[in-house]
Symmetry: C2
Subunit: 201 residues, 2 copies
């Protein structure tokens, strides 16, 4: 344990910042110092934004999104296509798809993917609620927008099995060459998938 | 401007987090989501720590350190050697030296280094107060703990000139092979400095 060099208030701030993803003790100190230098311009607004978010943000009990209301603004948006339900692992994936802006559907956040190695089983994911929603809401298509990883694809197959007896079309994201991708930087798996799923010009 | 995907409270939090050093829009979203998931364990304590620090932390008018009191706890520490004053560019350097724990002296934070390219001149640094302190406090040695960069060394020479007429010994940090450093990874400048300053076994 290195000697504490600043007062307990600063040390406490550094310790908490070091627990943020992507930050370690060294970058946490740098962030703390930056905040102290920009107290009016950044530290005060950040403290206020955190306190504000803390009081308002809740998890949507319908889909698992985070918002200031429950059900969330996506679930209650009357312009969204209620026929299509997009299954994602995490809220960050929901955000990524919303940024892409190609879908106008509703989502279902699983809260992770099946991962035997990390001890994540079906009971740890928001699966029962998914079956209920597909059943009750008369969903026509479930799009499995899960990562093209082993765990992601295992989860996709598990969800497909789970919904097998319901009258719903189940699709998954296409696999292939990413936009801007150069062939000689791509792995064999991606290239094989792209060739197998080739489309007519 | 990508479409806002979360409510204004979350977007505001992401925007502020993205202004922290080392974070960009993508990592700020990841941090925001992590905070939202750990609202009791991390978001609430962080909001409290920021608010606490905001109300308490001040800059020491004597040395430029940040602390909850002015003069700071280092300046007022009666066990510190008042004969030795360590000049550093930034509070982060002061913290680094305190962590090393080899000195029990007082500090003087310049608030940067001279940098013609960045438009930082002598008037931007805390130099007048340094001359006053050396003069009034009867300091015996000034250690210039500045980076071994062009700007750092320019600043070291400038400070040496500034204190020339005062009866004080001025020293700087040794240059050489860093502890754990392998020779074939070091630049020629460091190797030359290490050879010139070689010491007897």
């Amino acid at each position: 344990m290195p000697r504490a060099v600043a007062g307990p208030e600063i040390e406490r701030l550094i310790q908490l910042l070091a627990r943020l993803p992507g930050l370690g003790p060294r970058s946490a100190r740098r962030v703390a110092l930056h905040l102290i230098k920009k107290r009016e311009g950044l530290m005060a607004p950040l403290a206020a934004a955190l306190t504000d978010a803390l009081g308002k943000i809740v998890e949507c009990r319908t889909c698992g999104n985070v918002d200031v209301r429950d059900p969330c603004s996506i679930c209650t948006d009357p312009t969204r296509d209620r026929q299509v339900l997009v299954v994602v692992a995490d809220v960050s994936d929901l955000w990524a798809l919303e940024r892409a802006g190609v879908l106008n559907a509703r989502y279902h956040v699983l809260g992770g993917v099946l991962s035997p190695l990390d001890g994540v089983g079906p009971e740890d994911l928001n699966l029962a609620r998914l079956v209920d929603r597909v059943h009750q809401d008369g969903v026509g298509e479930v799009i499995l927008a899960l990562g093209a990883t082993v765990d992601g694809q295992t989860t996709a197959h598990y969800v497909t099995d789970l919904l097998r007896d319901l009258p719903v079309k189940i699709t998954r994201l296409a696999q292939g060459v990413p936009v801007g991708g150069e062939l000689d930087y791509l792995d064999e798996g991606t290239l094989s998938a792209a060739i197998r799923a080739r489309t007519r010009m």
